[in-house]
Each structure stands twice: as structure tokens, then as C-alpha cells.
Amino acid sequence: MRHAPHAAYSISRSRALLASLRLAVLSFLADPQWLVPSMIAPVIFGLVAYELFLGSGPWFVIYAILGAGMMSMWGQTLYGSGWATGQDRELGTLEPTLSAPTPYLYVVFGRVAWNTVSGLLGGAIVFVVVAVTYGHPLPIVDPVAFALLFAVVIVSLASVGIVLSAAFVYTRYAGFIQNVGEFAFYVGTGCMFPVVLLPFWTTPFALIFPPTWALDALRYQAIPGYHGLPWGFAWDLLGAVVTTSAYLGAAGAVFRRVEHRVLEIGDLSDY
């Protein structure tokens, strides 16, 4: 075989992102086990929530359904992103991937992109199944605004997922951290019920996470008469944008730092 040293290839970040997205899709198709936690479980929760809250009026229903949709997106977008990096470590693919000249961050971006799409899909499925099962569409005040805010929520989740992935590059014990932190995050960001229902001292912690802001904004928009964080919809939205941008902006530096640190401690593979 001809082997001519050496051709200087140019590294394209968008290409690495697309390659990673493609790998994520292929892996999902090859093993759709995530269907259960990310699509099927939320649908069941959604149906149960509908039955439970039906007597309390349509806005309670949408409130509950939102929670179920969030569950799906949490699973896909946030949990899935970190999990994939943990999987890389387990498979032994983290080393060859890091030895490629493309920064690992773009590989993570690609995965998060897929997880975002499938998370949206999961959320949509919950809505559709509930609507079809009970034979009437859910009341949505302004579908366009709703869709836009939904996208903001997803991106805010993704931004956390990206930063969380760095923890999985850093240490093989990140799965443990994530599992412990999952519940706190789940409740703290108001995935299932609003943060204002939590003890007051938890709010500052919850506000560190972009989804807290984004979700509260979504609820203000979707549920008339909703009482969430005291500063209301506009500040919620601004907070979501600011915190999400901060996470995304920090991601590059976090990854550079983590990639360097992990080469120092030598904890890249599982054996």
C-alpha cells in the first residue's frame, strides 16, 4: 500500500461536530435502549399526570405535562451527553479521540446536538400522545412563543450537558457524581415543580443553572396566572440567556483545562 508521509490535513471543527453527530445517530440506531428512559417513561408519566390533574383544570394539566416533557429532555440532553463521554472512557475510545487533533469539545457539541434533537422529539411525543389519547389538543396560549421558549429550555439544558461532559473527561467517577447530583438538579431546577415551592435558601443554588431560568420563563408563558420566580417572565428570559451564554462561553476554557489536567493525572482509560 502506498503510504506517503506526510500530507498536512486541515482540521475542521464543524466537520468534527458533524462526524460526532453522525456517530451519535448511528449508535442510537444500533442500540435504541434510550427509547425507554427518554421516550416511553415520560409518556407514561405524562398520561398519569393528565389523569391526576384533570380535575384541577387545563392549566394544571399543561403544567404536569411540561414536567413530563422536561423529564424526557433531561434524560436525553443532559444526562445523555455526560453519559456518552463516560461511555468513551469505558470503551477505551477516549484516548484515540483525544489523540486526534480536533478538540474534544466539538465531539461533545456533536453529541449534544443529537441529544437536543432527540430530547425535543421526546418532549413532542409526550404532548402528542397525551393529546391523542384524550382526544383534544392541549391548550397553548401562543404556539410560536411556546416553541421558541421550548428551544431556549433545550439549549439551556444542553449548555449544562456540555459542561457536565467535562467532568466525565476529568474522572471516571463522574457517573457517581452525576447520579448523586441528578436528583438535586432535577428538583432544584424546577423540572418537576417550580423552584418557588422549594425552601428559600435553595433558590440561589438553583439560579446557577440556566434551565431554572428558562423553565420558569416557559411556565410564565404557557400557564396563565402562574406564580414563579418573583421577577417575572422578562427577567427570567434574560437570566436564561445570560446564564446559558456563560456556560457555553466557559465550555471552551473548561475543556482546555480539563484536557490538560487529565493528561497530568493520567486517568484516561479504565484499566
Binding site: 503510504h3 508521509p5 448511528l26 470503551l91 477505551g92 484516548e95 493528561l263
Partner: protein
């Protein structure tokens, strides 16, 4: 032109935690002052027993691990500070079954890494066909990697390692776990690469493999290089060309001592085989006869002697044993 590899007093310490509460900090000195120089275009062999530090050194040189102390230059670039410039120019093949995406096909695995390495899109598919063909996996290219045998996975690793046409390839135990036929095929592939001008840094447990492939060899034991030479030079290192094996039903320490003091005997290794004991003598002079050896061990009518050429494997074991 700069050397392919050059290291100065390279150290690497690992810190790990042990004990029930992970409260016990353990320091492992995996590398203790490595000085190494590898020419361009050669196959350099790094030999050593388990835990010697071979993988650690390979990872440092391939930018996957930072040295604790000392410096290393690969293709003229510093592995710690110029890793980004270095990575596209080197390839890495870590032995074993891990390191591949099992649920997708061999071709998809290669495509993914081709994209990460920035192989031009118009060349990518052709290059993937080339490397699959090179390792003999053309027909299996569209099968999922989880269906692959160990040998096939190892070949796929090799294909990925050269996908981006590196100038220097690191091979960490490339034939580990392969049957003799596959191992031979792999060695043939490696020789083919060198014929094309690729420099190879290879680690192995097997002296015969290093002997067959490498121009120069370094022996690593417990983080230190205990010998570094050409194959011929190594043969001269520990003793002469003769190896005499003496077998009997147990020898007194005094008897072994007497054999060690025989003129021309440079090294004696004793091994037990059930009730029998074998002394392996490295002998420098042609003068030492079997009769002299027998005379040193009187009262052993069962004594059996055998002489053979000293192999590099013998020398390697001597070296590793001396250090331990």
C-alpha cells in the same frame, strides 16, 4: 533532520488512592529517568516485563500523558507544549480489544476518525478502502465491530493508526493475544510500513519479536532502561555466545557457587522443574568444556548437559532478572 524521538531524564509518577475509604495515597514511579533517542525511519523496540512502564512511556510520547519531570521531543516537537502540532503527525495503536465503537461497522469507525483527523473529504473513502485492504478487512468492513475476533480488532486498530498517514507510529504490544499466524501477518504489515519510510516505536514482551523487527532495542525494567543497543550489540552485552544448560536433582548452594566461579562463566540462572534443577550458564570462552562443568559437580550421576546458541530471549531474561 531532527531525531524521531529524543527524551532527557524523563520521569513519571502516578498517584492513586487505595484502601476502603480511598484514604491511602500510593505513589508509583512508573518511569525513572528515561534517556532515549530514536532515528527516523527505524523500528525501535522497547522491551520489558509487565508493569515495566512501556505503556506509560508510549502514552507520554504520543501526547496522552504528561511527564512528571524531564523532557521529550518527538519529530522535533515538545510533547508537553506542542502536542497540537504533533498529533496530526503521529499515530497510536494501543494493544487489546478496547478502543473501538463496537456497535457500528469497521468502516464507520474509520470514517469517524478520518473526520476527526481532517482527512480531505474527497480522499477519505479511498483512504478507508486502502487501509481496510491493507489489513485484509475489506470483506468485513461493513460488519459491526462487536462481531470481530480479537485479531480482526487488532488489525482495525492498526488501520486506524495509519489512516492519517503518520510519520511516526507508536505500537503498544501490537501482537498481544494474537495467534502465531496473525502475529506474523501483523509483523509483516509493520515491516511494510517501515519500507515506506514510517518510523516505528514498538513495545513488546517478546524478544523474538523485537529481534525479528527492530534495528535497536531498549530493555525497560521497573521504570529504568537497563540496556539499549543494536540486536548484535545486545548479544555481546551479557556474555558470550554459548549457553550451557545443566540439569540435575538439586544442587547445593556451594555447588552453584563453584559453577559461577568457573572461568569464562558470566552469568548463571537457576530454575526449578519439579524435582529437577536447571542451571543456565552464559559462557564467554570457547575453552570451558562440559568435562570441566561435570568435574565441578561431582556426585551427580544424573547430570544432563546441553549446549545451545545464546538467544536474545536469554539475554533479555538475564537483564530483567538482574534488575529484579
Amino acid at each position: 533532520m531532527t531525531d524521531a524521538i529524543e527524551t532527557h531524564d524523563l520521569w513519571r509518577t502516578f498517584e492513586s488512592r487505595k484502601g476502603f475509604f480511598f484514604n491511602e495515597l500510593v505513589h508509583t514511579e512508573a518511569l525513572r529517568g528515561i534517556d532515549l533517542q530514536v532515528d527516523r525511519g527505524e523500528i525501535f523496540g522497547l522491551l520489558g516485563p509487565n508493569g515495566a512502564g512501556k505503556t506509560t512511556l508510549t502514552k507520554i510520547l504520543s501526547t496522552l500523558l504528561l511527564p512528571t519531570r524531564g523532557s521529550a521531543r518527538v519529530l522535533g516537537l515538545d510533547v508537553a507544549t506542542q502536542a497540537h502540532a504533533l498529533r496530526p503527525r503521529i499515530g497510536l495503536v494501543l494493544g487489546g480489544e478496547r478502543g473501538l465503537y463496537n456497535r457500528i461497522s469497521a468502516r464507520e469507525n474509520l470514517r469517524y476518525f478520518a473526520d476527526l483527523f481532517g482527512i480531505p473529504v474527497e480522499r477519505r473513502d479511498r483512504r478507508i478502502r486502502e487501509v481496510l485492504d491493507w489489513v485484509g478487512l475489506t470483506d468485513a468492513g461493513d460488519r459491526r465491530v462487536e462481531e470481530f475476533s480479537r485479531g480482526m480488532k487488532q488489525k482495525l486498530h492498526l488501520a486506524r493508526g495509519i489512516l492519517h498517514e503518520p510519520e511516526l507510529l507508536f505500537l503498544d504490544e501490537p501482537t498481544i493475544g494474537l495467534d502465531p499466524k496473525s502475529a506474523r501477518e501483523t509483523r509483516k504489515l509493520i515491516r511494510g510500513l517501515v519500507a515506506n519510510g514510517v518510523t516505528i516505536f514498538l513495545t513488546t514482551h517478546y524478544m523474538f519479536e523485537a529481534e525479528e523487527l527492530c534495528q535497536r532495542i531498549a530493555v525497560l525494567t521497573r521504570g529504568r532502561i537497563v540496556a539499549r543497543d543494536t540486536v548484535a550489540g545486545l548479544s555481546r552485552l551479557v556474555g558470550g555466545d554459548r549457553t550451557i544448560e545443566v540439569e540435575g536433582y538439586g544442587f547445593e548452594d556451594a555447588e552453584v557457587g563453584a559453577v559461577k566461579r568457573l572461568p569464562g562463566v558470566s552469568h548463571v540462572v537457576s530454575e526449578e522443574f519439579g524435582p529437577r534443577l536447571r542451571l543456565t550458564l552464559r559462557v564467554r570462552t570457547p575453552e570451558l568444556t562440559w568435562e570441566t562443568v561435570k568435574a565441578t559437580l561431582p556426585g551427580h550421576p544424573e547430570l544432563a548437559l546441553r549446549e545451545r546458541r545464546t538467544s536474545l530471549e536469554d539475554i533479555y531474561l538475564d537483564l530483567v532478572e538482574e534488575e529484579a
